[in-house]
Amino acid sequence: MVDFSLWDIARNLLMSVRWTVALSLVAFLGGGVVGLLLLYARIGGGGVAGKLVGGYVQVFQGTPLLIQLFLAFFGIAALGVNVSPWIAASVCLTLYSSAYLAEIWRGCVDAVPKGQWEAAKSLGLSFAQQLRLIVLPQAARIAIAPTVGFMVQVIKGTALASIIGFVEITKTGGMIANATFQPFLVYSFVALFYFALCFPLSWWSKRLELKMSASGR
């Protein structure tokens, strides 16, 4: 049997951190792009588009991320299309993030006073211009804190990708725990790595929030 020293455990977990970070970045950036499109459809697309986006958000927020991952990985495979864990996890987490981000950002757009829209319109700006030049810059200011906070949720969400065989921190931890028979130690380390990733973001988000409320929105 190969002996795992404490350093071996830490080193192997550390190597897998990059996959957690990579998947989180893909999900967050992809989710941001799709989320923006959804946001645009929801505020500018009229009743039907708005309802569709609302339904989309409800489906992703009302079902477990795990079931979404199972569907993307095992479900699609059962239909005859083989997808790798990478693709399944990326697509799934991107859609999941987009639903949350669209909802968070819509709240921020709603928080911009109505008069801003009206003033922009009276200047003869088109809808796209009103949104891009007047409303979004103001909404973005409010959106920073909750968006950073949501990054924490994305990072934690990537842990579920371990179940469909994506090798990130949690999966690596499981494999090391099985090899070393030291699950207590290994899962403590795993938790520590997540904490090291998430806590700075949580802290930053909270600070931004306090700053916002101190500056009177």
Binding site: Q58, V59, G62, T63, P64, L65, L66, I67, Q68, F70, L71, F74, G75, I76, A77, A78, L79, G80, V152, I155, K156, G157, A159, L160, S162, I163, T170, G173, G174, A177, F181, Q182, P183, F184, L185, V186, Y187, S188, V190, A191, Y194, F195, C198, F199, S202
Partner: protein, 227 residues
């Protein structure tokens, strides 16, 4: 390629699905009650407790909120036995859910406590209430009433998160869906149906809790408090 979907093959296994729903709801109900209590106690510790108590509560909240639920669950189910604590999958699931919800509930309740108007304390003191009485009768009910929607959302998030408990063989809904698809190879249909059931459960739980809160948790006293 022609794809044939057969949802009936999955629905024919309804006893398994029903059992899964029952477990999911039972886990959720139990962890909502216990997690709510943990949350209130921790919120009290952070808002009014002595320094060390406040520090312990803050550490617990940050540790849980910044690690994934699945790691907490695996730590409790796989890690603790190595330290001498053996747990059944069901007990481990409940503990993990309570610990998880407790941390989020603590933050939510604390936000409610922070919003208590100063005059409430003075009024309670003037009535000669003790510290505990003041918290229980005057401060807590309106605070709960204020944050109840956030609390309901968090309980639903924990319910959806409980899908992970199937991974340690707790026989909740996602476990049932997995079992069914391993028997009839209808993975797509199984997970679509499981997802639909979760969605319905989420909607139903939100309605029930929104109805229950004002009637049983923070009734007349809260209304009096809010004014």
């Amino acid at each position: 390629m022609k794809i044939e979907l057969d949802f009936l093959a999955v629905l024919a296994q309804w006893p398994l699905l029903a059992k899964g729903v029952a477990w999911t709801l039972a886990l959720t109900a139990l962890s909502a009650v216990l997690g709510g209590v943990v949350g209130v106690v921790c919120a009290w510790m952070r808002a009014y407790g002595a320094k060390p108590l406040a520090w312990i509560a803050a550490t617990y909240v940050e540790l849980i909120r910044n690690t994934p639920f699945i790691v907490q669950l695996f730590f409790i189910f796989f890690g603790l036995p190595a330290a001498g604590v053996k747990l059944t999958p069901e007990i481990a699931s409940i503990i993990a859910m309570v610990v998880n919800l407790g941390a989020y509930a603590a933050e939510i309740v604390r936000a409610g406590l922070d919003a208590t108007p100063r005059g409430q304390f003075d009024a309670a003191k003037a009535l000669g209430l003790g510290r505990m009485q003041m918290f229980r009768l005057v401060v807590l009910p309106p605070a709960l009433a204020k944050v109840w929607p956030a609390m309901v959302s968090q309980i639903i998030i924990v319910m959806l998160g409980s899908a992970v408990c199937g991974q340690i063989s707790t026989e909740e809904l996602s476990y049932a869906a997995n079992l069914i698809q391993s028997r009839n190879f209808r993975a797509f249909e199984s997970f679509i149906i499981a997802g639909a059931i979760y969605l319905l459960l989420a909607i139903a739980v939100r309605h029930v809790l929104t109805w229950v809160g004002p009637r049983f948790l923070f009734g007349a006293s809260a209304k009096a408090g809010v004014r």
